[in-house]
């Protein structure tokens, strides 16, 4: 195993403006096989200028790795304006100690990301595989698609210990999302496959679903008026009201399933 520690220097986020840093170049895949000095020389965008990773982060490398999957990156410092953490990664591990900015785990294909804090919007956007664990809250568009696309998450597993924002799993086609807290409006919007489980409450879940399933263990506020009640069914011991929809479309398209704790 190899551990690469990247600690954002304090002065970087000290100004009146908190200017984001884009770190999609700092994944296990891309840093595997690089020496400490090579990593320090890796370019990252800070606003409209490119900087050396070493100028923005304190960099430490411990141990050896035989492949990207043996690389673990640990991020520290104020990460609230550090974007694209683990974006596109296929292997290895990233641990972020603190709140992270947008697109964490976007386009991820493999490996694991753990966020010890909140993740801003678009975490797990267009995710295809791997694991994403967010110990705090997730912002809007968790595991959703990019504007205009008709497919969001296709695979992998995402767990949010806290609450999640609007449009969780929009256009989701596969994979699993577990939200332990509450979700804002329109979870599973345009969903066509996969499963979203919400342990807390949801508002207007399942709109324009054509497939997949949403399970709400808490209460539903403002139920979408175009779902059809099917039956009371039992999921691992508990009773749920089972709905099919969304019938704001033709009967033929409306193949989504929504379970709400009875």
């Amino acid at each position: 195993m190899q551990q690469i520690s990247l600690k954002l220097k304090e002065e970087v986020m000290k100004g009146v403006a908190k200017i984001p840093i884009v770190v999609d170049s700092l994944t296990p895949d891309k840093l595997f096989g690089k020496s400490e000095s090579e990593i320090k020389a890796e370019k990252v965008w800070w606003g409209n200028r490119q900087e050396n990773t070493g100028d923005l982060f304190e960099v430490e490398v411990d141990g050896e790795a035989g492949s990207a999957s043996e690389v673990k990156i640990v991020l520290d410092g104020d990460l609230s304006r550090v974007k694209y953490i683990g974006a596109g990664m296929t292997a290895g591990e990233i641990e972020a100690n603190g709140d992270v900015d947008m697109h964490c785990g976007a386009m991820m294909r493999g490996g694991k990301i753990t966020v010890h804090g909140n993740a801003d919007c678009w975490a797990g956007r267009e995710m295809h595989g791997g694991e994403l664990l967010i110990e705090g809250d997730a912002g809007a568009n968790l595991c959703a698609m990019y504007r205009g696309e008709i497919t969001g998450m296709t695979g992998g597993k995402v767990v949010v210990e806290g609450d999640a924002g609007e449009c969780v799993g929009q256009y989701m086609a596969g994979g699993e999302i577990l939200i332990k807290g509450n979700v804002d409006i329109l979870a599973g919007l345009n969903m066509k496959g996969g499963r979203i489980t919400i342990e807390g409450n949801a508002v207007m879940p399942g709109a324009d679903m054509t497939g997949g399933e949403i399970i709400v263990k808490g209460k539903v506020e403002d139920m979408i008026p175009s779902f059809r009640f099917v039956e009371v069914s039992t999921l691992d011991g508990a009773q749920y009201r089972k709905y099919s929809g969304d019938l704001a479309m033709t009967e033929k398209q409306a193949k989504g399933l929504l379970y709400v704790r009875a």
């Binding site: 990019y146 504007r147 205009g148 696309e149 008709i150 398209q253």
Partner: protein, 564 residues
């Protein structure tokens, strides 16, 4: 800009001047081809293929419809992003590139002229604003004049002269180039969610599409118009439509052109060469269409060949886009344009695994290969409808290489073997024929050859493409595709704009527009009716309608006298 340029040791293909692959020097002074030069900058082509700058007869590159396509497809936009360079503006888009990318990518393929073939008259200013921002390319645009209420009223009353006066005013007011027809009558019917076949009466106007096409052809030939009517007929994309296509072409058989050119150009004919009765028994009828073109002289076509993959379809044929959207269920934009036309846009994926798409893919190439005389055929993809223009090099390599076609067919749905002709066709294009269908034919058909486009004769524009391939390498399909995608050199008006596939200069192109000259009295009579129409039914005033000169900063006017 270099004053004098000499291109030596090139193997030149210049069909308009009958030059068939001769080693020949090309001299350019002050942007024009000349006999000889004194102390030029010299480019040694080292035996490479040299052609006039490419001329595209039909590609949707600018205007409201194209921009709606860009606007509603950020997912396409992010596919083509490239950062700005010292010379180039930032780029985006694949099937709907931004205007800068459009100019650069065409130039890199050795093209120097593109015809925007569908300009809604009331939004003509928009089309011109985008053409201004499309670097390098010379351009022109065809206003849509077939579903216009004034047109249909004159067709109904049979006043061909007044109809001519109306199109003269329209072409002038829009700084347009000729008469474009798109689903005549059908687009007006679409304003009521209906459609028209060739001999249906248009709702409330009781004229038929057939009458509209015939009358516009007659009216067009009242002037010395450089181009014939440019026709996208009824029932585009419907199984069995090849019959309608031939009937449409037949309508104008008797019409006399003012000069030696066809009286009708049938565009993106691939979409109009369908057999069968449903998508189930869908089949190619390219053979029938090709035989028609082979045995007639009054019609030319461009192929509108399919490029496999995702693209953005867009046309003034509103009902057609609606049926396409009903098939895919994907996003759909529609824009009905008062008193004139409409627009439909929807994304589409052509897959080699789908029988219908495979047959469509075959049809475009079949048309090019089965029509004997290449002077009757232009290479297009009806960009972006059958695929983006950057797919041209793929098509060229297919047309030039049967083996490549067969290998592709093997990968595709088996329908290509039992419901299309392509696998049974042995013909292979040579560089000379390619030069015809990518330049010479378009320049001649559009009447641009005498204005310096599409050839390398003395006096022509200094537009030259040097491709990184020699005649000896013609069997290397891969190399052909590479060579035609990124020219070794593209020279525009004597200026080197592309070198080794990279854009090195991005000058402003010229806009060609036609001024039809109409008899005063006719014009006055028509104008009275026109002003009344504006007064009561248009949502903009007559005075604010015509395109101001500010929108054509680099104009090239072609006058079209009235034929008494």
């Amino acid at each position: 800009m270099v004053e004098e340029l000499l291109i030596k040791n090139g193997v030149v293909y210049d069909p308009i001047n009958g030059v068939k692959g001769e080693k020949k020097d090309i001299c350019i002074r002050d942007g024009k081809i000349v006999e000889e030069v004194k102390n030029p900058k010299v480019i040694d082509a080292e035996g490479r293929v040299v052609m006039p700058g490419g001329v595209d007869i039909h590609a949707h590159i600018a205007g409201g419809k194209v921009n709606s396509g860009r606007l509603f497809r950020p997912e396409d936009g992010r596919k083509g992003i490239e950062p700005k360079t010292k010379v180039c503006r930032a780029q985006s888009g694949y099937s709907v590139p931004n205007t800068f990318a459009t100019g650069y990518r065409y130039a890199r393929m050795g093209y120097t002229f593109v015809m925007e073939p569908a300009m809604p008259p009331i939004a003509a200013r928009h089309t011109h604003e985008e053409l201004i921002d499309t670097p390098i390319l010379d351009n022109a645009a065809l206003p849509l004049i077939d579903n216009n209420w004034m047109t249909m009223e004159y067709v109904k009353s049979g006043d061909i002269d007044l109809l001519a006066a109306y199109i003269a005013w329209m072409i002038k007011a829009t700084k347009g180039y000729g008469v474009k027809i798109v689903n005549p009558g059908g687009t007006e019917a679409w304003a009521w969610a209906k459609n028209c076949e060739l001999n249906d009466a248009v709702p409330y106007f009781d004229v038929t599409p057939a009458e509209i096409v015939k009358s516009l052809a007659e009216a067009n030939e009242r002037f010395e118009m450089p181009h014939s009517i440019h026709v996208h007929g009824n029932m585009l994309g419907h199984p069995g439509n090849y019959v309608v296509t031939m009937k449409t072409f037949d309508l104008v058989k008797g019409t006399k052109p003012y000069r030696d050119r066809p009286v009708l150009h049938g565009t993106h004919t691939q979409f109009h060469s369908y057999g069968g009765t449903t998508w189930g028994d869908f089949e190619s009828q390219a053979k029938a269409i090709a035989e028609y073109i082979n045995s007639n002289e009054h019609a030319s076509i461009d192929i509108g060949s399919v490029i496999l993959g995702d693209t953005t379809t867009m046309t003034a044929d509103g009902p057609m886009e609606y049926s396409l959207y009903q098939i895919t269920g994907r996003k759909w934009t529609n824009h009905d344009v008062e008193l004139e036309t409409g627009t439909g846009i929807t994304p589409f994926l052509y897959s080699g695994k789908v029988s219908v798409h495979t047959i469509q893919w075959a049809i475009g190439q079949e048309l090019a290969l089965l029509i004997k005389d290449p002077w009757k055929v232009a290479l297009t993809t009806d960009h972006p409808n059958a695929g983006p223009f950057i797919g041209y090099p793929i098509l060229i390599s297919m047309l030039m290489n049967k083996r490549r076609r067969d290998e592709s067919a093997e990968e595709m749905h088996s329908a290509i073997f039992d419901r299309a002709e392509l696998p049974s066709i042995d013909r292979e294009y040579d560089f000379y024929e390619i030069a015809i269908i990518t330049r010479a034919m378009a320049a001649k058909t559009l009447g641009l050859a005498e204005h310096g486009k599409g050839h390398l004769g003395v006096g022509a524009d200094g537009d030259v493409a040097i491709y990184d391939i020699t005649p000896e390498e013609r069997d290397d399909a891969g190399k052909i595709q590479k060579a035609f995608l990124n020219a070794k050199y593209t020279i525009k008006g004597g200026e080197i704009v592309v070198k080794d596939g990279e854009v090195v200069a991005a000058p402003q192109g010229k806009t060609f527009f036609v001024t039809p000259e109409c008899d005063e009295k006719l014009m006055d009579e028509m104008m009275a009716k026109l002003k009344d129409t504006f007064e009561h039914y248009y949502s903009v005033s007559f005075a604010n309608y015509p395109v101001q000169d500010a929108y054509v900063p680099n104009p090239y006017e072609i006058r079209a006298p009235w034929r008494s």
